[in-house]
């Protein structure tokens, strides 16, 4: 009987890429892979530690599985495993706590565990890019890891400490990875990494890599995931006009106050950010710019916060991920005074969320009446759902085929919970 492996992934797309790669590897080794912790032999939790809330969520996932009777092998990996390794090993003495640098060796670890071999995970020689192209994943889009680590050292961010120094995957490995996943049937690849705009493989920067990716003579579209707005060149803006590249960037802003950006040690000004947005909208007036904004950073005044609020109204973001500032030990911001009270952070967060929601509806409204190429990723209960090229969710009241592109005419907007989804019908 096949052994069942359950995965739970928290945090960023890089974690999703790594989970997908591991899951695919396990499928190849003959395991059954599921995305939950019920009736499984092995539970792998790919954690996140970017905020206190991420730590709490990661612990909750582990505790929940144990409280619901998981007695099999437990593997805790991801950034929390780097950041709180000793604490996790103490709290979960039967768990394997595997850091990011060893994550790719988890299949060997699991095999060794069941073969009764004594093989501590830290004796496996892994690597941050040592993942085989994933054929069987939890996603319709194939994540492609091009880079790991970050040298920016933003004052609020713990990621350089847990992901390590910036390293780039060789160009040819990336191109081969894309050729393979497109061969597996993927229609869209998502370029991922911790700080992809700093990609540099022997002098080949991000734009030069992107050019080689779009030049691959296969039929697929490219989505660039989260990117820092600090090192774009002219070639990058030109490449965004390429038909393979989807008009969407998650361009992290964090704050629209110049003084807060300096305190965060971000490597751009708000003025520069605005200019980038203008250039992106010159490429395509409906270019979808989504972003992250932190509220309540130490020293953030009401006037600073108002600037972020005004930016949300001014820049017509397609989505804003609002974070309340969360103190991470071992960062520079943790040593800053003038902390903002939690109650004030919550107030600002709520105000920003409201503004972001209005902006989202406003942004999405412009697609009503137009056609989008939708990649279907969910089919259930008589409807299908997917994302168009602008990375806006579209619901179609018809059963369609997963992982297939459809031309869909947008007929309106329907709100589920707080999410305003586009509604459309398939065009023949």
């Amino acid at each position: 009987m096949k052994k069942r492996i359950g995965f739970k992934t928290l945090g960023c797309r890089l974690n999703q890429f790594e989970t997908d790669a591991l899951a695919s590897k396990f499928v190849g080794l003959g395991y059954e892979v599921v995305e939950n912790s019920k009736d499984i032999d092995v539970f792998i939790v790919n954690t996140c530690t970017v905020t206190n809330q991420s730590d709490q969520k990661s612990r909750y996932v582990v505790n929940n599985a144990l409280n619901h009777g998981h007695t099999g092998m437990l593997v805790i990996t991801g950034c929390m495993a780097n950041h709180h390794k000793e604490q996790l090993e103490k709290r979960y003495p039967n768990a394997y706590v595997v850091d990011n640098q060893q994550k790719s060796t988890i299949p060997q670890l699991v095999e060794a565990h069941y073969n009764k071999e004594i093989l501590p995970s830290n004796q496996n020689v892994g690597g941050v890019f040592d993942y085989a192209p994933a054929a069987e994943t939890f996603h319709t889009r194939s994540m492609i890891k091009i880079q790991d680590g970050c040298d920016n050292y933003c004052t609020f961010c713990i990621i350089p400490k847990v992901r390590g120094r910036a390293v780039s995957r060789p160009v040819e490995d990336i191109l081969e990875n894309i050729r393979q996943v497109v061969g597996f049937g993927y229609k869209e690849v998502v370029i991922t990494g911790v700080n992809i705009s700093r990609y540099n493989d022997n002098g080949i920067g991000f734009s030069a890599l992107l050019k080689q990716i779009v030049d691959i003579n296969l039929d697929f579209r490219v989505r660039i995931s989260s990117i820092e707005p600090d090192s774009f060149d002219e070639a990058f803006f030109e490449l965004l006009k390429h038909p393979k590249i989807t008009p969407h960037l998650h361009l992290c802003l964090q704050s629209a106050s110049e003084s807060v950006l300096l305190q965060m040690r971000r490597m751009y000004t708000y003025k520069l950010y605005k200019r980038m947005v203008e250039r992106l909208r010159a490429v395509d007036p409906r270019f979808n710019i989504t972003t992250d904004i932190i509220v309540g950073f130490p020293g953030e005044t009401e006037a600073d916060f108002q600037k972020s609020l005004e930016a949300v109204e001014e820049l017509n973001f397609g989505h804003v991920h609002t974070f309340k500032y969360s103190k991470r030990e071992d960062t520079r911001a943790a040593r800053m005074s003038n902390t903002v009270p939690e109650s004030e952070k919550s107030l600002r967060s709520e105000q920003l969320r409201q503004a972001a929601n209005d902006s989202k509806i406003n942004y999405r409204q412009q697609f009503v009446g137009d056609q989008l190429k939708v990649l279907v990723d969910t089919v259930k209960d008589g409807y299908s759902k997917g994302y168009g090229e602008y990375y806006v969710p579209v619901k179609i009241n018809q059963v369609l085929e997963r992982n297939k592109l459809y031309t869909v005419k947008i007929t309106g907007i329907e709100t589920w919970g707080e999410e305003p989804n586009l509604i459309g019908v398939v065009q023949n």
């Binding site: 690597g127 941050v128 050292y153 992901r163 120094r165 910036a166 390293v167 490995d173 751009y268």
Partner: protein, 226 residues
């Protein structure tokens, strides 16, 4: 997987022997430590801390790329966790050093004759000391903002015609006032590249002044000191 792919990218940390300490003022000193195999680009910083502690702090490298040692310029912070401990260390002792990192460097694609304006407050002069000693910029002007002329920190390293000491609390520098006052009165043009290093307020104000003078943000590079 291709050849040369890094197996891991953990931050490398090592113990480095202290070769010399030069006290420049009551609170500021230069720590010279062995280089070992650390290569860096002028403008980058290292995290340094006492050998038996868990804390480190970021310091821009003060010495030149080609030097056979590494120097950092340290100002003792009252009640600080790291700088008071570093000050107590002696020659022959050790410090913990993380490998150099950072993007506050000179763009190699710019022409040799490129005009640079370096603007520093206090110990923020450190990366510019490294730029100049490493031969990274020939055509430069360094504006150094301090309270007192005694904080000019080994200014003999610079061409005296290219170094402007701005003293805000006494009339002993090249210019009596803040670097921002000097910059308002003296324009260096829109084609120069401006490198700013020091406290947030100075950088914030300089950005505003340069913007008023029509300088593109593409030509402004900043490294914040805390």
């Amino acid at each position: 997987m291709g050849k040369g792919v890094p197996a891991a990218n953990k931050i490398k940390t090592d113990l480095h022997e202290i070769l010399d300490i030069r006290h420049l003022t009551d609170s500021t000193f230069v720590l010279r430590i062995e280089k070992k195999d650390l290569e860096f680009e002028a403008g980058q910083h290292v995290c340094v801390g006492p050998p038996n502690g868990i804390h480190t702090r970021e310091y821009s490298i003060y010495s030149a790329e080609q030097d056979e040692y590494i120097e950092i310029l340290v100002k003792e912070v009252e009640n600080g966790l790291v700088s008071p401990s570093l000050k107590k260390l002696q020659k022959g002792g050790y410090v913990v050093v993380e490998e150099p990192v950072g993007y506050f460097t000179i763009n190699k694609d710019l022409p040799q004759a490129q005009k640079y304006v370096f603007i520093a407050s206090g110990t923020g002069v450190s990366p510019f000391h490294s730029f100049v000693l490493s031969g990274k910029a020939q055509n430069y002007t360094l504006l150094h903002g301090v309270k007192y002329a005694s904080e000019a920190y080994e200014s003999e390293a610079y061409d005296e015609n290219k170094y402007v000491l701005c003293t805000s609390q006494e009339d002993k520098g090249t210019f009596n006032g803040r670097v921002t006052d000097y910059l308002k009165a003296n324009h260096f043009g829109v084609d120069a590249h401006y490198y700013l290093c020091g406290n947030c307020n100075m950088i914030h104000d300089v950005y505003d002044i340069l913007e008023e003078q029509g300088v593109s943000t593409d030509n402004i590079h900043a490294e914040v000191y805390f």
